[in-house]
Symmetry: C2
Subunit: 183 residues, 2 copies
Amino acid sequence: MANYRCGVQVRLSNGVEWAAHAAILMAGLPDRHGIRAERLAVYLGVPPAYLAKQLQAMRRAGLVESSRGAQGGYRLSRSPSDISLWDITAAIEGPASIFRCTEVRQNGPCGLDARDCRTACGIAAAFRNAENTFRNELASVSLANLADQMLTDIKPDHIKYSLEWLHAESLPMPKAASEKTGD
Amino acid sequence: MANYRCGVQVRLSNGVEWAAHAAILMAGLPDRHGIRAERLAVYLGVPPAYLAKQLQAMRRAGLVESSRGAQGGYRLSRSPSDISLWDITAAIEGPASIFRCTEVRQNGPCGLDARDCRTACGIAAAFRNAENTFRNELASVSLANLADQMLTDIKPDHIKYSLEWLHAESLPMPKAASEKTGD
DNA sequence: TCAATTAGGATATTTATTATCCGAAATGAG
DNA sequence: CTCATTTCGGATAATAAATATCCTAATTGA
């Protein structure tokens, strides 16, 4: 009892996890092949309409390319070794930082004048620092790294089964809508 | 136009910022002196009832001591150099990690068996890693560091004014309720 | 021309955060 | 002892954000 929780939770949205898994799957497709959004959702067991949101966010960030219409689908727009976990996170979560300084030091009877608050207060600076290390750590992990690790972690026959499923769903994508510039 | 935002925001609650500011203020009180919660809220210009929540969370985490009743109040329970920004963050936000793995790899037609998921998947491991660096960075900043920096950043006459305000509000706290063990 | 598929937004639902309030317990002072 | 004061702990309301679904339009290959 007394299981009170005044403490607040801070989490990333699941969208980041889903987007990362989807990106790793696309890294496993044959060269220049894509896959339908709905098929990715089935493979991952997540709501199709919501995964589509994450795919659109990744497309706006330039991580994936899409083709509409029959035979349309998604594929990575860069090599898996050129896409980091930070790229995915930033695409889904946006550029906002974890800590938001509300300039408390300007409040109250002893509040500072805004002119004296050009430089960040120590608290904000420390959090900015910590966030940079967080970001750099994620930036050092690529989709290629993650795919490699997955191949060593999972049993060979399961890998074979999964790749067969994926490749059977893959679609040739000679050109992508996001790539075309009116030529 | 087209200022859509499908991207999601991730932030810490303001409680962390307020708690940190409150803790720095308490570090500026005379030795063995405390201050009423309501006075802290006035100084910081934040809602008293909500700051009280953060103070209670810090008390449960052992960072501050409180005394009830007339002449009651809060004071730090350790030296400012022994309390880190991570201590504050953990006290307010709780132990939950930023990234939450929902074991997507166990979903769908090619889902792994739970028995094969003893070790964390690469994505979860990478986030755990990044969070560790984030935490360590915050752990390296103490209240004493922050207070020192504040003293160098702020103009001397403003420091004087603020300390006078604080010291006028300070209360002697020979013993703290959280400290007493029934002796 | 038609069927299939993504794009973009509207919108509902659920969850988390922010904020306030009140009774109970504790304490120092008179 | 009694009383005014103040924190404690929880209940609960209000606001904001994340999660999820659906629909119409645009695009494309067959």
